[in-house]
Subunit: 331 residues, 2 copies
Amino acid sequence: MKLATMRDRSPDGQLLVVSRELQRAVKATGVANSLLAAIESWPVCEPRLRALSVALERGEIDGALDFTSADLASPLPRTWQWLDASTFHSHSVLLARAFGQAFDTNGARPLMYQGGSDDFVGPHQDMPLPSEADGIDFEAEVAVVVDRVPMGTPAADALGHIKLVMLANDASLRSFGAAEKKTGFGWILAKPATSFSPVAVTPDELGAAWRDGRMHLPVRVAWNGREFGRPDAGAMGFGFHELLAHAAYSRNLSAGTIVGSGTVSNADYATVGSGCIAELRAIEMAERGGAVTEYMRFGDRVRIEVLDAAGRSVFGAIDQRVVAASAGASR
Amino acid sequence: MKLATMRDRSPDGQLLVVSRELQRAVKATGVANSLLAAIESWPVCEPRLRALSVALERGEIDGALDFTSADLASPLPRTWQWLDASTFHSHSVLLARAFGQAFDTNGARPLMYQGGSDDFVGPHQDMPLPSEADGIDFEAEVAVVVDRVPMGTPAADALGHIKLVMLANDASLRSFGAAEKKTGFGWILAKPATSFSPVAVTPDELGAAWRDGRMHLPVRVAWNGREFGRPDAGAMGFGFHELLAHAAYSRNLSAGTIVGSGTVSNADYATVGSGCIAELRAIEMAERGGAVTEYMRFGDRVRIEVLDAAGRSVFGAIDQRVVAASAGASR
């Protein structure tokens, strides 16, 4: 089942059930107005949404919407919690080296920070940002949405709480990254609003590519129309079930909590490229003695997409520009 | 005006307008069901809530509730964002020394992390936690609730966005604090659910004690019935307006965002005591060569309160126990 959210006057948007081929959609108004409301009552809503999905695939929905022209929000335009990990070893090692900092492994625990979850950007919306001088970067990630995960849930029990999978562009302002990391408090200035893929899918949509709490598919990243990377998301050092158990050690995770993988990265980056500019710059520093690639300029566009084994887009593509906030870009 | 939230079946609770003396209350059902809904429509709701407040003070509300026996949630039982700063210089210096870490001033910028905002604990509810071995601590803080603060709002314009002031018990698990700080990612395990005071008050309730974006009153902390500290909250190194401008540099702050002061601390801690156990332990390390005071045990109680110049409780008291999560403590 594939779900999306159409922008409307409400901050949580209008929930849509979307066809597998991402061509048609139907409003889920009769089930739940918003995805947040649906995930908060998932046992009731899921079967009813699946029934809509089946009817849509069979062509039994009169007046289905054209999904390709829908004005989309992120599947959850806002939610109660966004916890983003950093689980790709090659990324952590490269970034730590570039920032001139030791790579702290946090013992045997995942690295995880809490990001802003109150104001996500739609997958095709412009991202208004304060200044090109801040080192604007994209970050291609995989993310999951969970129902309520009670405090103390072990990893073995956590997998079943993962209800949806999606992609993220966890935009970053690198000029603040190292300084904020050094404080130990995590990132505020360095992490503007995140964006998620047009659709969130139930794990069964991924078939055999969903295993070990990971999505074993390459994430394709293009910058201004040119391929930038296609690292495989299966290389996570921790599975999402382990990230959930970590996060839930001392807190309940409310339904609608999103957990991210961190920037997808592979050890054979020379072949597959990277999921963010900072990593490429780190590679350039190591191999050429200095970073060559500059960060994004206003007007630049990033595209993040995953194709299944048959070459079909699973989540639709995040495809968006960064623009000057001062230009009055409205969202 | 003083506002509170009574627990009911809805996750956002029932908004109450409370009398100045904290004796009586009236449901604000006709204005907004929840404080979150009210703060999201503040220009419409505030005058109507104030009218209720005036009627309550005049004794014109038939069947007013007995506030002293109300089953309270935090004023916002959950919200979209909780950004907690660390603005008291003496606290930062002492903690850094105790953790064996350099005190990073973040240049001229405030120190701030994002905490869980999806599941706050009521001011008199037990706090269920996984283990006494985790170094359970309280942290007495001041916090503000804002309406929407657009990205790029300067400090000079930020003060007007502060709609409510309250107290916080930002509970911490110190065993994870130093390790998570070292990762640079901020705190996940070290920061279980936060608790806020029975009432949130509009800044005018503080009179002359509200100035320079600070509340110039001592925060009284008692641990198991014994005074632990009464540091003055006016000693913040940054005012709340400056914290808001910092947080809003690269993000919009949604209505309902809570910003915290960090643990209240004064340079004359020898006289006024501390707002958390970790600070007292740091003082003991410096003065006696080792920490003597142990962290909280299950069943321990903390009380956090502020009295005005006339000795009246401004916010009511946070007064709660920490308990074992495994004991099935329900919230």
